[in-house]
């Protein structure tokens, strides 16, 4: 993916993580991962896994590590 789009994905992931951070680091990482799995198209998830982890916040990084590499979205939880 090109720089512009990747930057967008990084920003989106960090933004999700920041908004969920108040729930505590662990919960926030799990919720961020779930959010991305639920709402992002597989090519966006794949591209996010490729980004330089240094660009991601700690919570977003932890969330990316939890994303299922097979690309299947997790079932709805609510």
């Amino acid at each position: 993916m090109s720089g512009g789009t990747t930057a967008n994905l990084v920003r989106m992931a960090n933004q999700i993580a920041a908004n969920l951070a108040a729930h505590g680091a662990d919960a926030a990482a799990a919720e961020t991962a779930e959010h991305i799995a639920r709402y992002w198209d597989p090519r966006m998830r794949a591209a996010l896994r490729e980004v330089d982890p240094a660009q991601l916040s700690a919570i977003a990084r932890a969330a990316v590590a939890r994303l299922d590499p097979a690309g299947a979205a997790s079932p709805p939880s609510d």
Binding site: G4, T5, N8, I16, N19, A22, Y39, D41, P42, A72
Partner: protein, 945 residues
């Protein structure tokens, strides 16, 4: 049906009162206590002559036409102002009454022109009818005395005329403007013979007055004094069809009054459950776009977007489109194709577009314009309550004690609801307005907000957290409600979070710029209720924390126990007529109709069985992601029904780049809109007057839209989608929109009980309509939340990345005005243009002075995304540091300056906050000139051979 005026019972109905039985002309009648004798008589078919009474305003008792005799009572009281009593015995026709009425009538007629035969209201005039009813045969006073017959005509309003020569000074118009509309534009000037109706000052005409052209006075007028111009031009209607307004989410129902295939007028339907007989200027008058010369009615195609358009047959257009789509699918895979459904089209049409994308294209790349408006509402309310929709009906406001409006401007965006709200406020309900701008609701005739909190744009979450802080720390929360209805542990986490001193109004004042004392006062008032309701709009959702704000609103409603009964609740004011429906119909890339996630194999298999095709289990792309992917080269084809994303979506340059990178853009619309400049196929659409189906309004009310004339393009929109589906090899065979609704009902539990047949028989129904709620659900979460326990979600205020600085020191926020609608494609093509010829930039006097600007000057508005020019309006409606504009006109393209920032959860764009600079300018920018030239080029249509 033939033409019959709507029944008029003379005085308003009385609700919720014990029954009273009386005798009128020998017949027994039972009506609620407080009903007038006039209405009681009308209910058993006894029409008492009347002139000053009409049933949408309170009785006035001025014309003395409705006199009756009551046993045991002296004199001849007016039946419109006399309430019924148990055992009352009333005579409505006696020689004495007949004589009295004839005398009164004679006086009226002696000062009325006798040009009935050539009058536009001939045969549709209550004065004429009443003269006949009382048997007037002669006017003893002659017509030579002093009269008003040469009073001059006021034709200033584009839709109706005021002919004072015909006025009988019944004051119905004045009272309709006050009681129904709440604008107080009209007065009766002078007394006795000199009395006359006036729009404001004697020198004012209707256009120059406070009048907002809602038409309530026109509907109330018993004579031709206030009459639609169209009636004068076309003649009296000969049939009427009930249908639903295609503008905003209030969902007013109208009688489309027709003469042949010609629409004469739209008259608000008294039985309309959302509007109760009222309307605004858009639905009432602004339908002329349906016949505008710009409308395209023949399909067009072109190889490349640089070519001129070529008009072709439907057959050729559909073959061309299907071939392109199929070739792209073969070459790039299903996920390279997608569609955008329209919040202006019917549920049935929207459902078919997403069905075509999922079942035909084979991807879940379907999105809708709710992405840019209420997607955070869906997210936030589903998370906390379990349903992506508002909790109340509009009638609920009649039971509200405290109204909190945040980020909505109802008088402009949702005018008919605003009128109902103002009525409640005039009855004594209290009002809190949270808005950066001093919107009209803050102060207007007979309405004064108790609190206006003019917050810094982008600080909604901080404001709501501070309110929650006050409510929790001052012990004002309704813990009994929370314990019973919500998850108590989650509540405690939330309560601890909001109680933190860093969330106090005093600390947050630095961020919100709202005085702490005002915020505390507002929070206490809201908590005090007893029935407090929150109404909100795009000023909540179109922020980087749009979803958090919706969550915070839900938290506040639950913490104060304001959910699950009339008068309370969380009420998103929906923008477009069918935005609720478009969301319900599965227009989002991650969910199927009824908000069921695409990864849920059980739901997918239902659809797969019905449709006979597999469905991709992965979520698809949202609109901004489609555009990104197009620039990347992985997204190639887009079918856009009834939306103009180039004008309505943020960061115009980015949208244009995305569209330009695609191989097949199909625009299905009424006009060659801005997006069509980048299209390869143009499929002409049909208007709401030309189709059958349903719209779902902001109250979740599903209402019929009825075809009153044949589609100018030959097909209803769902038929066009079906043509395309068939050409792509799908075996669809719908012959009527009702069959699509039947399929929706089979597949969507909340619609299980809905069918066209039921809507025809019972009127609009509010979903869910199913075995648990066979009559629908006016109020939701009555006995418990849909998700089980109400969920409190902690929402941390996170400032937007969009910050002011030395280069861009002001904050731009955007909105809309009453007479125009969204990107203006329809309203700009009507006479509504007289109220809004161009988008203006509102700027505070201090900021204007610093820049040497005055009202009317051209200014350059620049952000880091782009720049445009428009004229300035200097006003203290906006706070210093904040500027405001609308986005109704393509020449302005306010979205050239909005950025790609968006809501964290839904990517709803941050329209409401952009850091900008404003400076003097001498006219349109280079970009505006280039764009206009390019738009002209791309709209060329090859001469037919």
């Amino acid at each position: 049906m033939g033409y019959e005026p709507q029944p008029d019972f003379g005085t308003p109905a009385v609700k919720d009162a014990p029954p009273v039985t009386l005798t009128i002309d020998g017949r027994q009648v039972t009506v609620p206590e407080g009903t007038s004798v006039m209405r009681a008589a009308a209910e058993v078919g006894g029409a008492i002559p009347r002139l000053c009474a009409t049933d949408n305003v309170a009785a006035y008792g001025s014309c003395r036409m409705c006199l009756v005799e009551i046993e045991g009572q002296r004199g001849t009281p007016a039946s419109c102002t006399t309430p019924v009593r148990d055992g009352m015995v009333v005579q409505t026709q006696t020689p004495r009454l007949e004589k009295l009425r004839r005398g009164v009538m004679e006086l009226y007629i002696s000062d009325h022109p006798l040009d009935c035969l050539t009058c536009s209201a001939n045969n549709d005039c209550e004065l004429q009818d009443t003269a006949a009813q009382v048997g007037l045969r002669d006017v003893r006073y002659g017509y030579a005395g002093a009269n008003h017959l040469d009073a001059s005509l006021d034709t200033s309003n584009p839709y109706f005329d005021f002919d004072p020569a015909k006025c009988i000074v019944c004051s119905r118009c004045v009272r309709a403007c006050e009681e129904v509309q709440g604008t107080f534009a009209l007065t009766i000037e002078g007394r006795g013979f000199d009395a006359k109706v006036s729009a404001g000052l004697a020198s004012d005409n209707f256009l120059g007055s406070e009048c907002v052209s809602c038409g309530a006075c026109v509907a109330a007028c018993p004579t031709a004094t206030l009459n639609e111009k169209a009636v004068k031009e076309i003649g009296k209607p000969e049939r009427a069809v009930i249908t639903t307004c295609a503008y905003c989410g209030v969902g007013c129902t109208f009688r489309a009054e027709m003469r042949g295939q010609q629409l004469v007028r739209m008259v608000p339907w008294k039985d309309g459950k959302a509007n109760r007989g009222h309307s605004c200027v858009k639905g009432r008058f602004a339908w002329g776009y349906a016949h505008h010369a710009d409308r395209i009615t023949r399909p067009m195609i072109r190889e490349a977007i640089t070519d001129p358009w070529r008009e072709v047959s439907w057959d050729e257009a559909i073959r061309f489109t299907a071939a392109r789509l199929t070739a792209i699918k073969d070459r790039h895979g299903a996920r390279a194709l997608g569609g955008i459904t329209s919040s202006r089209c019917t549920n049935e049409e929207t459902f078919l577009v997403q069905k075509l994308v999922r079942g035909g294209f084979g991807s879940n790349n379907v999105d809708t314009c709710a992405r840019v408006c209420h997607s955070p509402t869906g997210y936030g309310l589903a998370k906390t309550f379990g349903t992506s929709a508002g909790t109340q009906d509009f009638d609920s406001v009649e039971h509200t004690d405290v109204v909190l409006i945040i980020g909505a401007n109802p008088t402009d965006g949702h005018p008919v609801f605003a009128s109902r709200l103002k009525k409640r406020l005039r009855q004594g309900a209290r009002l809190i307005v949270i808005d950066p701008r001093r919107i009209d609701m803050v102060r207007s005739p007979h309405v004064q907000a108790d609190y206006h909190l003019p917050l810094q744009p982008g600080t909604n979450v901080a404001i709501l957290t501070a309110m929650a802080h006050v409510i929790v720390t001052e012990g004002l929360a309704d813990e009994a409600f929370v314990r019973e209805r919500c998850d108590w542990d989650e509540y405690q986490d939330w309560a601890r979070f909001v109680s933190d001193p860093r969330h106090s109004p005093e600390i947050l004042e630095a961020v919100t710029r709202v005085p702490a004392a005002d915020l505390r006062g507002a929070a206490r008032l809201f908590a005090q209720g007893p029935n407090s309701a929150i109404y909100y709009g795009l000023g909540v959702t179109e922020h980087s924390q749009g979803s958090s704000t919706v969550l915070a609103i839900a938290n506040l409603a639950m913490a104060t126990g304001n959910i699950g009964r009339p008068g309370v609740g969380v009420n998103p004011l929906r923008g477009q007529n069918n935005v609720q429906g478009a969301c319900d119909m599965g227009s989002f890339p991650h969910e199927l109709a009824g908000y069921r996630h695409i990864s849920d194999a059980g739901t997918r298999s239902l659809f797969e069985a019905e449709w006979g095709t597999p469905i991709d289990p992965e979520p698809g792309l949202r609109i901004p992601n489609m555009l990104d992917a197009a620039v990347e080269g992985t997204f190639k084809a887009l079918y856009i029904q009834g939306e103009d994303i180039l004008q309505s979506d943020p960061n115009t340059h980015h949208v244009a780049a995305g569209l330009a990178a695609m191989d097949c853009v199909i625009v299905h619309d009424l006009f060659l809109n801005e997006t069509a400049n980048y299209a390869h196929v143009f499929l002409p659409g049909s208007t709401f007057l030309e189709k059958t189906g349903t719209f779902t309004n902001a109250e979740r009310r599903v209402q019929m839209v009825r075809r009153v004339m044949d589609p100018a393009n030959g097909y209803e929109d769902w038929e066009v989608t079906q043509l395309l589906a068939k050409a792509m090899g799908l075996g669809w065979s719908y012959t009527h929109a009702s069959q699509i609704m039947d399929e929706i009902a089979r597949l969507t539990p909340s619609f299980a009980g809905i069918s066209h047949a039921r809507l025809e028989a019972e009127g609009g129904l509010q979903w869910p309509v199913n075995d648990a709620a066979p009559q629908g659900s006016p109020v939701m979460h009555v006995d418990g939340f849909v998700r089980g326990k109400g969920k409190f979600v902690v929402t941390e205020y996170i400032p937007t990345d969009e910050r002011t600085g030395p280069r861009y020191p002001l904050l731009l926020t955007t909105g809309r005005i009453l007479s125009q609608y969204n990107v203006g494609a329809q309203t700009r093509r009507t006479a509504n243009a007289v109220w809004h010829e161009e988008d203006l930039l509102e700027i505070h006097p201090l900021d204007a002075e610093n820049r040497g600007l005055k009202s009317g000057d051209w200014v350059r508005l620049a952000s880091r995304a782009g720049e445009t020019t428009l004229r300035a309006l200097v006003t203290d409606r906006v706070a210093p540091g904040v500027v405001y504009t609308t986005f109704h006109h393509p020449d302005t393209q306010a979205n050239v300056v909005t950025t790609e920032n968006s809501d964290w959860a839904t990517n709803c764009p941050e329209y409401k906050v952009t850091a900008v600079q404003v400076s003097a300018s001498n006219g349109p920018s280079d970009w505006q000139r280039d764009y206009a030239a390019q738009a002209r080029r791309s709209r060329r249509i090859e001469a037919a051979e």
